[in-house]
């Protein structure tokens, strides 16, 4: 039984179909990259996974549970922007990952101290220990995204959804973030879905790369057909999953 299943998903806004016949099953611990042209429905699919929207037809289940109707604790998310709370300090942002589920949204007393200690460990893991007391506005873009990921993981979600998380970062920072994310994933074994418009990034990080596109192209009315998964690549071992090249081939292969 696979961990995340999407069965026969259709999504349309008004009369305009965005997604049609999307079927997907993902094993626990897989890293799935989702790529595609702008407006191909990859972000829509992520919103469906997040349960921010409910599909017109079909259903998405995590671990066989009933389809969710609104975002909840089992789904963690990091957006390109606005993923951290500007009015909370860096430390409080991570604590919020645990405390927001409480009736008053905060811890008190010994519980608070314990949560702060755990949050400091998360910050140490994200390399943000020295910024614990600062507000997110004082952080660089890469630091903010590291904080957002740390905050999402502090809530211990079942799946982690990333919507172009490194889209606004410069190339150097982006490479650092790749290393950070890969290390973190090796530690936690988290199931991750990442939407990106950067193919190389998708192949580098993902175990699978899903391509969203329109299967057919109606010349009279291009908008009449929604997008679906047109390719499902196995991206392990740099895209060559079932053969291991023993000898040094001197062929340039970007890792």
């Amino acid at each position: 039984m696979s961990f995340v299943t999407a069965t026969n998903i259709f999504q349309s806004y008004g009369r305009r179909p965005i997604l049609e016949r999307v079927n997907l099953s993902v094993e626990e611990g897989e890293f799935v990259s989702i790529v595609g042209a702008s407006g191909c429905g990859k972000s829509t699919f992520l919103r469906l996974l997040l349960a921010q929207e409910t599909p017109t037809r079909g259903e998405i289940r995590i671990d066989g549970a009933e389809p969710a109707r609104e975002p909840g604790l089992d789904r963690g998310v990091v957006f390109q922007r606005y993923s951290v709370f500007p009015h909370l300090s860096v430390l409080e942002n991570v604590v919020a990952g645990e405390s927001f589920r409480r009736p008053w949204g905060r811890f008190i007393g010994a519980e608070k101290r314990a949560a702060r200690d755990r949050a400091m460990q998360v910050l140490a893991r994200c390399g943000l220990e020295h910024m614990a007391a600062a507000y997110p506005a004082a952080l660089s873009g890469g630091m903010q995204q590291r904080l957002a990921i740390g905050q999402a993981l502090a809530a211990k979600p079942r799946i982690l959804l990333l919507d172009e998380p490194f889209g606004a970062l410069d190339p150097g920072t982006r490479l650092q973030m790749h290393d950070f994310l890969m290390d973190l994933r090796a530690e936690t074994g988290m199931t991750v879905f990442m939407v990106t418009h950067d193919l190389e990034e998708g192949f580098k990080l993902g175990d699978r790369v899903l391509v969203f596109d329109k299967p057919r192209w109606d010349l009279t009315d291009p908008d009449i057909i929604g997008a679906t998964i047109t390719y499902d690549f196995d991206a392990r071992d740099g895209g060559i999953p079932f053969q291991t090249i023993k000898e040094d081939t001197h062929v340039f292969r970007p890792n």
């Binding site: 997040l50 606005y82 500007p86 927001f100 009736p103 949204g105 507000y135 999402a152 809530a155």
Partner: protein
């Protein structure tokens, strides 16, 4: 160099800040001098020295009949009304702004209603307020509330709607209930905007306060101004006007200070 890129130095800047005030003072002094030269008993533009004299008398000498220094008595009465009116409006506006901004059901119910109510000219309903709430303190406070509450609600609910959807969704994925989202995500981000909105509504609040005091009152800054108008006591009126301006300005400064002190995270990045 283009004009848009030229900046005054510190000294010149201070001089430029003072310039319009000094210019206004000189213009008044010259006008007053000219009028007094023609008619020494002219009451319309008393000399600055006369105003200063009157101000000292008003601030220090008690009224012969009531044994009170009416100036401070008036100030206190007006400030109580203003603070109550603005304070109650602010609290109600935060609650309703959060409800309208966060809950689609409340938004559907109230947003249109508030938009229509905010179009009622508050002074037009002042007689109704006097009839319903009597001529006491209540009707004056209610006039301020009627005057600024719709604006505050509309402004604050719009600010809540401006909070990026991503941030709300993020809070949802952290398990936050609607209540926690309101309390820990929306409310803290609304507070600096509340202070901004209150700063903007202080002007109208003073307007409604003085209007209500002018029509029916026994004390208050607006009452006194309209009372001495009958005697053409321009020196008293001008003293009060300057005092009201100063009070409004100081309130604005205090609110700005609060905003800077308590919401450091609103400062621009780095």
């Amino acid at each position: 160099m283009r004009l848009i890129n030229r900046h005054p130095g510190i000294v010149l800047r201070a001089a430029l800040v003072a310039l319009p005030f000094v210019a206004l003072f000189i213009a008044y002094a010259l006008g007053s001098q000219a009028r007094l030269a023609v008619n020494p008993s002219d009451k319309l533009m008393p000399a600055p020295s006369k105003i200063a004299e009157t101000a000292v008398r008003l601030l220090t000498e008690p009224d012969r009949r009531s044994e009170k220094i009416l100036f401070w008595y008036d100030t206190w009465a007006s400030l109580v009304r203003l603070t109550l009116g603005v304070g109650i409006s602010a609290v109600l506006a935060v609650i309703l702004g959060l409800l309208i901004g966060l809950l689609p059901y409340v938004r559907a119910t109230l947003a249109g209603f508030v938009a229509v109510v905010s179009m009622i000219p508050p002074l037009a309903v002042l007689p109704i307020l006097f009839i319903v709430f009597g001529l006491g303190e209540l009707s004056k406070v209610v006039l301020i509330i009627v005057g600024i509450l719709p604006f505050l609600i509309r402004d604050l609910s719009a600010r809540v709607l401006e909070i990026p959807r991503e941030m709300i969704v993020k809070a949802e994925t952290l398990g936050a209930s609607s209540w926690v989202i309101a309390l820990r995500v929306a409310l803290p981000q609304l507070m600096p905007r509340l202070i901004q909105a209150v700063r903007l509504s202080l002007g109208p609040a003073w307007l409604f306060l003085i209007a209500a005091e002018a029509i029916a009152s026994e004390q208050g800054l607006g009452y006194r101004i309209f009372l001495v108008r009958r005697f053409l006591a321009m020196d008293v009126i001008l003293t009060y006007v300057i005092w009201i301006t100063l009070l409004a300005f100081v309130m604005d400064m205090i609110l700005r200070g609060i905003s800077r002190r308590f919401f450091p995270w609103t400062e621009a990045s780095l």
